[in-house]
């Protein structure tokens, strides 16, 4: 009889264990690793988050997403996982920055001129990931009255202060020395 009673209790414990209240600390959600400081106007692939209850893998869903990659700033993606009556969430903060300097190319020009001639700066073409206005400073000048090699340096600065430079060699030639 005692033996029966013991086996019954064990059976009850087993059955009741299936109806046990879900445990909060067994539910976990965590971020997948990613690069969350990103360049403006670049593309961003969300690395997502992973969630589990004990050994059971669960799917984390995006709960909030404020990311605007065309604007500098700080944005959030919040992931959430729900298991039975409990739920947990995790936050990913994304920073959109501009650290890419502008890209410049020389425009074709006539950069070999005769002594005393006229030099016209053909300038440069510039583009920048910010899609904002880029300032271009021109360093150096050409003395067309003196034969020699002159270097014109174009310095492009974008709105975030990123800077790039490119050089144009201009030669004032005395035909008598050729």
């Amino acid at each position: 009889m005692k033996k029966y009673l013991l086996s019954m209790i064990l059976l009850m414990l087993f059955i009741l264990s299936g109806c046990i209240k879900p445990q909060e600390d067994k539910l976990s959600i965590s971020l997948n690793p990613g690069v969350d400081t990103i360049e403006i106007n670049s593309s961003y692939i969300d690395p997502g988050a992973k969630a589990s209850y004990g050994f059971v893998e669960l799917t984390a869903s995006i709960y909030i997403n404020t990311l605007d990659i065309t604007q500098l700033g700080t944005y959030e993606i919040v992931y959430k996982v729900t298991y039975k009556t409990i739920e947990k969430e995790v936050k990913r903060i994304i920073t959109v920055v501009d650290e890419t300097p502008p890209v410049m190319t020389l425009n074709p020009g006539v950069d070999t001129i005769l002594l005393g001639g006229n030099w016209i700066d053909a300038f440069v073409s510039v583009s920048d990931n910010s899609e904002q206005e880029v300032e271009i400073a021109i360093l150096g000048e050409v003395d067309t009255q003196t034969a020699g090699i002159y270097i014109i340096t174009y310095v492009a600065t974008d709105i975030s202060g990123n800077e790039s430079r490119i050089m144009r060699y201009v030669e004032v030639i005395d035909l008598n020395t050729i």
Binding site: L31, V35, T37, I93, E99, G109, I149, R165, Y169, E171
Partner: protein
């Protein structure tokens, strides 16, 4: 021996030996201390100048001599500077004294072997000297009380160091001077001591030695002689009547002021005799080794050189200097050795020679003693004995005459001394243009003198006789014909050669190539002269219809090619020698000017003008010679994009026609440079990038472009592309494009590694870093996960001159505090615990 005890001899010997030793070790020329003061000398004009110089050069003035020099003292380290400035380092001489052999307290003249050796007894038959012969002895003074010198010492005797005159200033303090003086002038036949070389003489004693310095007990400075004292003594002796100066002393320095003093003495007829030195080496000591000084070496009784005697090529003569018995201080006598005692033998003998025959020059005296010396050692003059050991007797009895040579303009021959009854000969004199014939005793050439055969019996002048030389002048004439003339020296040759028909004579020349003319050649040697001829040139004049149409020149003898006029103008039918055209001319060898007259036939001419293309005929006409043709209207040549043409004229502008003509238009080419230009391109390129030549804008098919130069985009540098524009072969323009290949700026690409950057307080931040395409990544900044906040990690790469940064922002959030109680309260009803 007089009663002199042995102890005294030993004591003296020890004293003397130590003195000799000290001489060697204190020789100043071997012992110069750089910090010690040194003695200097300098020639000066006056006392004032001497003082002035001491201020100018900061040297201490010591003394001034009326003989034109001053002495100074200075620091040794200033020596080379002061010597450059004209100062002379003062040397030191020492007594040429080798050793004292023994003191003679009972001396005998028969111990004086030198008297026999030099044959003095026989010499004294000629002369025993004279009180008028003054022998100066520059030495340590003299024992003025010595019986051997009574009345012989000149009252003008002098202390040249202190510059004091008189017997009281010349007392001998070393004994050396007394020893030297006795050899020259000890009395004869006084029943005392020894015999000097000269029985009668005046001794001008010049005491020149230094004072002994009592503060240096191991040195005896009184045996040393400063150059200044010696020089002072030499001048003093010359000025005070000395005939001979004896210097039994010597030093290693050849002081030029000493040499000057010696040369002065010789120039005044004073003979200077000095000791060669006692080192037993070939070292030259001075003053003995100056040219004007008779240097005396020492021999012993067997006439063999003394071991201590210095030998060198300056030694003139030798004399006994070993174990010489002579006077000594304290009225004493010693036997001593040294060249110090050889020199006074020579000085004394010279005194005898002068007493016997006054007014002999130093050269004559030297000749006399050297030619009669007893040859020893190597035959003739040698370094040890000079000419040999002096022989007073042979020297005094030598009789010779002086032969002078009048060479009549030939090479100069110095006079010679010849002994009577001896033949002699000299090298024949040379005289340009003359040949020496022989010597004559008279200027009229009546008494010939045959060298090597005839003698002379008195001083004689010989006259040279010459024969004038004759030379052969070889003359090369026309066509190499040779003739000769024999002409005496210095004849002027200017003959004209024979005339040659058809040629004229241009003159004589020294070369067959006629480079240098020989105008009025003066004969001084055999010579060949070349005659230059030039051919005659004639003119031929050609006349047609009374007008001269041509003239030409032609060499004599040539046959003319007759003139052919322009065939478009006329054809020649024949040339005649007369204007009436009666006598035709046949060409023949020309011998004169010629005038010819032509008979002619005139001809027709063709004229063609061409269009701008230089091929199409624009105008064609046929005219006769001398007619005119009008040119057509100028043809227009069309322009191209870069060129235009302006007609400037015809290739032949003359309207009168004298030949067939083909006439082309000529254009000026006008180039419009603005029509050609460089096209824009990108000519500053990065290393390794492509470069494309954007070339030039050229739109004229009449022009041609040539391009040179290339660009190596794989090598940094400046490249030139040169574009040349040609019209035919004419380079019209040039363009240059300079391309610069420059170092490429590397693109620094930083890739941040994925990581979790949104954290809660207390989480662990794992730094995953970043990867760069070039360079090294440096991580700046850290994350404190215990403190909430925003952290910036900077990944920085520096590459060459560039810096590139990329940021990563890490957020540490405050951990949400979950109110545990509330959680459980709200969920309580749902919890079933059995």
């Amino acid at each position: 021996m007089r009663g002199m005890d042995v102890k005294k001899i030993i004591l003296l010997f020890v004293t003397i030996t130590s003195t000799i030793f000290m001489l060697w070790v204190t020789n100043p020329s071997f012992d110069v201390n750089i910090n010690e003061s040194i003695d200097l000398m300098r020639k000066v004009e006056s006392y004032d100048e001497a003082i002035q110089l001491s201020y100018i050069y900061d040297v201490d003035f010591i003394s001034y001599s009326d003989y034109g020099f001053a002495t100074y003292q200075s620091k040794a380290n200033m020596t080379s500077y002061l010597i450059d400035e004209g100062f002379i380092e003062e040397g030191i001489s020492m007594q040429a004294f080798y050793e004292i052999n023994s003191h003679m307290d009972d001396p005998y003249s028969n111990q004086q072997y030198a008297i026999d050796l030099m044959e003095l007894e026989s010499t004294w038959n000629y002369s025993t000297g004279s009180t008028s012969i003054v022998i100066a002895i520059i030495d340590s003074g003299i024992d003025t009380d010595h019986e051997e010198f009574g009345g012989k010492i000149s009252p003008l005797s002098y202390n040249s160091r202190t510059k004091q005159v008189g017997l009281s200033y010349i007392e001998d303090d070393t004994g050396h001077g007394t020893m030297v003086a006795g050899i020259i002038g000890a009395k004869h036949n006084n029943f005392k001591g020894i015999k000097g070389v000269m029985a009668q003489t005046t001794l001008l004693i010049i005491k020149a030695n230094n004072l002994d310095n009592p503060s240096t007990p191991d040195q005896d400075e009184s045996t040393l002689y400063a150059d200044s004292s010696i020089i002072e003594g030499i001048y003093y002796a010359v000025e005070h009547g000395a005939h001979v100066i004896n210097l039994s002393l010597g030093g290693k320095s050849a002081n030029p002021l000493t040499e000057e003093a010696v040369e002065y003495a010789t120039s005044q007829g004073v003979i200077v005799v000095a000791a060669s030195g006692n080192d037993g080496t070939n070292e030259k000591l001075y003053p003995a080794s100056f040219d004007d000084v008779i240097s005396v070496s020492s021999v012993g009784q067997t006439k063999l050189i003394s071991s201590f005697s210095n030998f060198n090529n300056k030694v003139d003569i030798s004399a006994p200097g070993e174990a010489i018995v002579t006077t000594y201080t304290d009225n004493d006598y010693v036997s001593a050795s040294g060249t110090s005692f050889a020199a006074p033998q020579v000085s004394g003998i010279i005194g005898l020679l002068l007493a016997h025959k006054p007014n002999q020059t130093p050269a004559e005296i030297l000749h006399r003693i050297t030619t009669t010396a007893m040859d020893q050692g190597a035959i003739g003059k040698d370094d040890y004995y000079g000419y040999g050991v002096i022989n007073a007797y042979q020297a005094i009895k030598l009789d010779y005459f002086i032969v002078t040579f009048d060479t009549q303009g030939g090479t100069i021959i110095d006079s010679i001394m010849v002994q009577s009854n001896q033949t002699f000969s000299v090298t024949n004199p040379l005289k340009e243009g003359y040949t020496f014939e022989g010597w004559y005793l008279d200027q009229a050439y009546t008494q010939p003198f045959q060298m090597g055969v005839n003698y002379i019996t008195a001083d004689t002048t010989l006259y040279a006789k010459y024969q004038i030389n004759h030379y052969t002048v070889t003359l090369i004439g026309f066509n190499g014909e040779i003739s000769t003339q024999t002409l005496p020296y210095q004849t002027i040759f200017n003959d004209d050669p024979d005339q040659v028909i058809g040629y004229h004579f241009m003159g004589w020349f020294y070369q067959s190539s006629f480079d240098t003319p020989a105008v009025n050649h003066i004969v001084t040697s055999d010579i060949t002269l070349y005659a230059k001829y030039e051919i005659n040139i004639y003119t031929i004049f050609y006349f047609v219809d009374g007008n001269k149409v041509f003239e030409e020149t032609i060499n004599h003898g040539e046959i003319p090619n007759l003139y052919e006029p322009n065939p478009y103008q006329m054809t020649i039918l024949g040339w005649y020698t007369d204007s009436l055209l009666l006598f035709p001319y046949t060409p023949e060898a020309i011998t004169n000017h010629l005038v010819l007259y032509g008979k002619v036939d005139y001809t027709m001419l063709h004229v063609t003008y061409y269009d701008y293309d230089q091929t199409t005929v624009l105008l064609y006409e046929v005219v006769s010679f001398g007619e005119s043709v009008s040119a057509p209207e100028a043809p227009i040549k069309p322009s191209s994009a870069s060129l235009s043409f302006v007609f400037t004229g015809w290739s032949d502008e003359s309207s009168i026609v004298t030949s067939n003509k083909q006439i082309y238009p000529i254009y000026e080419l006008i180039y419009h440079p603005d029509t050609i230009y460089l096209l824009p391109g990108i000519d500053t390129i990065n290393l390794g990038d492509d470069w494309t030549d954007s070339s030039i804008f050229l739109n004229d098919s009449a022009l041609r472009l040539e391009l040179t130069g290339e660009v190596d985009v794989l090598t940094i540098g400046r490249y030139l592309i040169i574009y040349r524009i040609y019209y035919g072969d004419i380079e019209l323009d040039i363009f240059v494009r300079s391309i610069h290949v420059i170092q490429k700026e590397e693109i620094i690409d930083i890739t941040i590694q994925p990581s979790i950057t949104t954290l809660y307080q207390g989480d662990t931040y794992i730094e995953k870093g970043a990867i760069s395409s070039v360079g090294e990544v440096v991580i700046i900044g850290e994350v404190d996960t215990q403190t909430p906040g925003i952290y910036q990690i900077i990944y920085q790469v520096m590459y060459r001159d560039q810096i590139r940064q990329k940021s990563l922002y890490v957020y540490v959030l405050e951990r949400e505090v979950i109110p545990i109680d509330t959680l459980y309260v709200s969920k309580e009803n749902e919890v079933v615990i059995s």
